[in-house]
Amino acid sequence: MKPALFSHLVPTTVQEALEMMGDHAAEARVLAGGQSLVPMMNFRLARPSVLVDLNRIPDLSYIDDRGDYLAVGAMTRERAIENSALVRDACPLVYDATLNIAHLPIRSRGTIGGSISNADPAAEYPATMLALDAVMIAKSGRGERSIPAAEFFEGVLSTTLNSDEILTEIRVPKAPADSGAAFVEICRRHGDFALAGVGAQVTMDGDSVAAVQLAACGVGPGPVRLTEAEAVLRDNSLTNEILSQAEQAASAQVDPDGDAHASAAYRRKLAGVMTKRAVQQAAGRAGGGV
């Protein structure tokens, strides 16, 4: 199929984009990389009458080192993130998550801001941002807001962004020195959306877990911070018993739906297994790079 008719607005500055969103908030959609929105439009599941296309705003594409966090412009392509030594060193979970996103030609166009604003429950970046306590910067003609990840994701394809707001920047805290990170997922084919995935950042103090941040995708209406499994692991050694308690805690905390690809029970099981694998991999990398 082909998209329905729309008006194509092409701002070249953020200010111009905000004015356009102010004028057309009711009917406009923001076009970022288009790797989710355009398929929806091709199938006419989405029929926005106005598209505000951010692809000609160079100021929205950057990766800046700001001391204790990285600031990533919303239009930064996933491929640029994958190729960034800065991201790999400072925010290894973001790097690892990026490698799990679809395929190279999709990552050529797909953007971090687009993936986060789209808030697909199976997408890697929302879970990653939730695990890392990232902060979203949203702008509108009315001003700027900082929204913590925990308050950003609302449900299936739903965020707390207002209709005239644009996500412009994502601030990701840098990983602690002795930490390791891993994003693991199961999908039917490489590059498909995950049936279940877990991102983990683990800081070790000798044999003991000093800090742990975990979030899952694909197992609920939005990303899920796995607080129960985090509590099991914190201040404990990663023995088989503790790992299997964390696995059970993760499975018990999530409430997935079943669909044609996997039943709810299988997804629940996977949430636990992915948690265990992600924690083991992350702990193995702690102190030793990616």
Binding site: A4, S7, H8, Q35, P39, N42, D53, P105
Partner: protein
């Protein structure tokens, strides 16, 4: 909304201009407006990879981009691979390894492989399998495709083959 605007892109080194409504996909612009029908349209939602072309140096799905977004871009399509009637080395390797049957997926396979190989100089066979999973072949001839891309990667990066 239905107004057609002028879109100029450099395709395989030649500047070409056509008209496009905002909603016209780049794949359809290449095929229907510029009459470059080597780029194939399969699923139209970014899954099959048949429409993959190289835009400003990177492989993209031309079904997930509007033609108006490509105004001013440099695009490489399957038509640009052969030079002076001579097949591109990767095309020759696809023939050598019997890496196609019906050929529908082949334009996307080739453009995907060229970006994959050009952008990474130490590909393993596993990397090639993961990278080429971006394009689907329903004749199921993947073994030949992986072998062709592996030999090409070896040639481009001056090695015997991949690890």
């Amino acid at each position: 909304m239905t107004d057609r605007t002028s879109v100029t892109i450099t395709v395989n080194g030649i500047s070409l201009t056509g008209l496009a409504e905002p909603r016209m996909l780049l794949a359809d612009f290449l095929r229907d407006e510029l009459r470059l029908t080597g780029t194939h349209v399969g699923c139209e939602h970014g899954v099959c990879g048949a429409c993959t072309v190289i835009v400003d140096g990177v492989a993209v799905r031309s079904c997930l981009m509007f033609a108006v977004q490509a105004d001013g871009a440099e695009i490489r399509t399957i038509e640009g691979l052969a030079t002076d009637g001579e097949m591109h080395p990767l095309q020759k390797l696809f023939a050598k390894h019997r890496a196609l049957q019906c050929g529908f997926c082949t334009p996307g396979m080739l453009m995907t492989a060229i970006d994959l190989v050009d952008s990474t100089d130490d590909l393993t066979e596993e990397d090639i399998r993961v990278g080429m999973s971006a394009a689907l072949c329903r004749c199921t001839g993947y073994e030949g495709i992986v072998n062709a891309v592996a030999e090409y990667a070896g040639k481009v990066h001056g090695k015997e083959g991949v690890r």
